[in-house]
């Protein structure tokens, strides 16, 4: 009897281990593909640039990839593109992929880190191996990368978002004589991007131009629903139910993540008693595709969204990485000639793509991401 039990336990453990090993095996099968890509590079002497997004499988990074590929084709280089799946967007997964690329000795790495600090040792290791490291979309520790290709400054993001909300609020009768309460839907509360944007929003809310908008209570009017889809939806529903024309209600909601803004649109649409669309407004960061239906709907209080040109971001990132590898620019340079984008300034080892892209129903169909 005892022996049998022991056997059973061992058998169970074995099957468990084999199964897990199987799955581990599955996820690793991607690496050989990349090695082949690397091998090709040495064969024909092409430059290889590897691009690592925060995660794969969201239209945002898909659009970045399209722009990156465009630049790669133009420059005649090899572009490797890989990242963690969306639900496993962790630093560890990114490090695994980076280690593979360091071993293959790619020429340059473009990375959008999930964690600016935890990824730094691996990036430094890449630099020691002679690989140029450029961050895009989100920055890492400054000493762990050569350049940062920033889509937009935090300052411009904060201002763009407030401007989008202010325009709508003014059209609905709010202004210096009639204050409006606003609420923000952020992400998990630890992201570097969102934190910087919130700080910029605070700064602009103190200026005369925007001080008719107020965040009444930071504890409850700035939401941190994290990245679980159901949680984001539920908290946005709560926020929508708090909206309306009253003084103790909220008049404008701004989404700070590509998850939150569409959720605001959807939860308004599904509310049982919709708050008066003439008294409130919804806006925020998201890809145009995600907001299209709400923006085009005239009875929906979401009339504009904000983003930067994702394809241009990918294009610029590859251009910068390429020219850094070739030696056309160095970390000391003050500008870069970025192909079809023209000349872009580099300030303090940071290259900024440009201004916010505010889209509304007149131009939302021009973007397919």
């Amino acid at each position: 009897m005892k022996k049998n039990l022991l056997k059973k336990i061992i058998a169970t453990a074995m099957v468990g281990i084999i199964t897990l090993a199987m799955f581990a095996g599955c996820s690793k099968t991607q690496t050989p593909d990349n090695t082949q890509g690397g091998g090709k590079k040495t064969a024909d002497g092409k430059i290889t640039i590897a691009m690592l997004p925060k995660f794969k499988g969201e239209n945002y990074f898909d659009a970045v990839k399209i722009g990156a590929q465009e630049a790669a084709d133009e420059l005649g280089i090899t572009l490797l593109y890989d990242g963690p799946p969306q639900d496993q967007a962790t630093n560890q997964k990114q490090v695994d992929i980076l280690e593979g690329w360091i071993a293959q000795k790619v020429d340059a790495i473009l990375v959008s880190p999930n964690d600016p600090n935890a990824i730094a040792p691996t990036l430094k290791k890449a630099q020691e191996a002679g690989i140029k490291v450029v961050t895009f979309d989100a920055d890492a520790q400054k000493d762990a990368r050569d350049l940062f290709v920033n889509q937009i400054t935090a300052d411009a993001t904060g201002k763009g978002l407030l401007e989008a909300a202010a325009r709508e609020l003014k059209a609905k009768g709010y202004g210096p004589n009639k204050k409006a309460n606003i609420a923000l839907v952020s992400s998990s509360g630890t992201d570097a991007n969102q934190a910087a944007w919130e700080a910029a929003i605070d700064k602009y809310l103190a200026t005369e131009e925007y001080n008719f908008m107020v965040i009444k209570n930071k504890e409850t009017d700035v939401y941190y629903p994290g990245t679980d889809e159901t949680k984001v939806n539920a908290e946005c529903a709560t926020l929508i139910s708090r909206m309306g024309p009253g003084e103790d209600q909220i008049q404008a909601a701004i989404g700070l993540s590509s998850m939150a803004t569409p959720a605001l649109g959807a939860q308004y649409q599904s509310a049982s008693k919709k708050p008066d669309a003439n008294a409130i407004t919804l806006t925020g960061l998201a890809t145009p595709n995600a907001l299209k239906t709400y923006i085009k709907d005239d009875e929906h209080p979401m009339n504009a969204g904000m983003l930067w040109n994702c394809m241009d971001l990918g294009y610029l990132a590859v251009q910068v990485a390429y020219q850094l590898t070739k030696g056309d620019i160095t970390t000391e340079s003050t500008s870069v000639n970025a192909g079809r984008l023209g000349t872009k300034e580099i300030v303090d080892r940071e290259c900024v793509l440009g201004d916010a892209l505010i889209f509304d129903k007149t131009n939302v169909d021009n973007f397919n991401y």
Partner: protein, 329 residues
């Protein structure tokens, strides 16, 4: 004397304590949380509650058999995404609902087969299938499904009973009533409790344990499918991570409702109240003006207190049983 004690014990159940607690919270919110009882807020809570409860009823059945399913979140994500792909073709809700139920049933049956045929503990088996389900989505697609037609979002945007109550609440009500009767009176449910109490004695008393567990997972899967379609149709965008994190909410609701993770005990009514309490916490603290960071901590505290109270009751019950034993000797 003994009978009297039993009678007092019979209504002092976990469900009873939970109901008292729930009522106290609701009264408290009525006094202190201004605007909490607006139609909009109540309906949005009920909508989130309905998809949580429907899936939690399935999870409750699984846990009663002394098994568990941690792959539910991933399973729901897969069903959401597949439903969205169908919805993009313009298929209406009456087609999407059974399709989602069948998909959920198939995936969950895989879990059931895996557990019974290989005798892997359910937590290990469903951890493995979690990886499997999560792994399938990135293979089939790179990206989310956007701009879904009005036929897809019909349930969330249009279907309101009397123009107010979301149809998902009605679905939840029907399923709950059926489950209450099914788990109380059906012969199948007796088997579940028997298996959960002692698998070997259940087998010896002539119950086909493997078959029963597989059917349980299949029924639960169909319920997960219903939840998935409610979650998926909430907006015009469906990503590959719609259900992530859901399994923990479900397990928490079931445990809060007095179902023991050891299996063999627990009622649907407990889960009904447990899920409602957990669904209220986040909006309630927002309306009370407390930082949302407290939300998870408060949920955790409620579950711990409930488990401790449940354990204390168990000890008490044991003492009650001891009396007749002493009487005989």
């Amino acid at each position: 004397m003994v009978q009297e004690k039993r009678r007092t014990a019979s209504f002092l159940t976990t469900e009873f304590y939970l109901t008292i607690f729930l009522l106290a919270v609701l009264i408290f919110l009525g006094i202190f949380a201004k605007g909490f009882y607006t139609i909009n807020n109540i309906m949005s809570i009920l909508n989130a509650y309905s998809y949580t409860l429907i899936a939690a009823i399935g999870m409750n059945m699984i846990i009663i058999t002394s098994n568990i399913d941690v792959s539910t979140g991933a399973l729901v994500s897969v069903v959401c995404f597949a439903s969205a792909a169908l919805g993009k073709l313009g298929l209406p809700f009456p087609v999407l609902l059974p399709a989602a139920m069948i998909m959920g049933m198939i995936l969950s049956t895989i879990n059931g087969l895996f557990i019974t045929k290989t005798r892997i503990p359910s937590i290990v088996a469903t951890l493995a299938t979690t990886q499997l389900f999560q792994g399938v989505l990135p293979l089939t697609t790179e990206g989310s499904i956007y701009d879904l037609p009005a036929t897809f979002t019909w349930l969330a945007f249009e279907a309101k009973i009397f123009g107010i109550v979301p149809a998902s609440v009605l679905m939840c009500l029907i399923i709950t009533v059926i489950a209450l009767f099914f788990m109380r009176y059906s012969r199948f449910s007796k088997k579940l409790y028997a298996i959960g109490n002692n698998q070997n004695s259940a087998r010896l008393s002539g119950i086909n344990v493997e078959k029963t567990i597989i059917i349980t997972y299949a029924i639960a899967g169909a319920l997960f499918g219903v939840s998935a379609i409610i979650i998926a149709t909430a907006g015009q965008r469906v990503t590959t991570t719609m259900g992530s994190g859901l399994e923990m909410t479900l397990i928490a609701s079931v445990i809060l409702g007095g179902t023991s993770t050891a299996g063999g005990s627990g009622k649907v009514l407990g889960t009904v109240i447990g899920a409602l309490i957990l669904s209220i916490v986040s909006p309630a603290i927002n309306y009370l003006g407390i930082s949302p960071n407290w939300s998870d901590a408060i949920k955790g505290a409620i579950i711990i207190i409930s488990v401790v109270v449940g354990a204390a009751q168990y000890v008490k019950k044991k003492r009650v049983i001891k009396v007749p034993a002493g009487g005989i000797s």
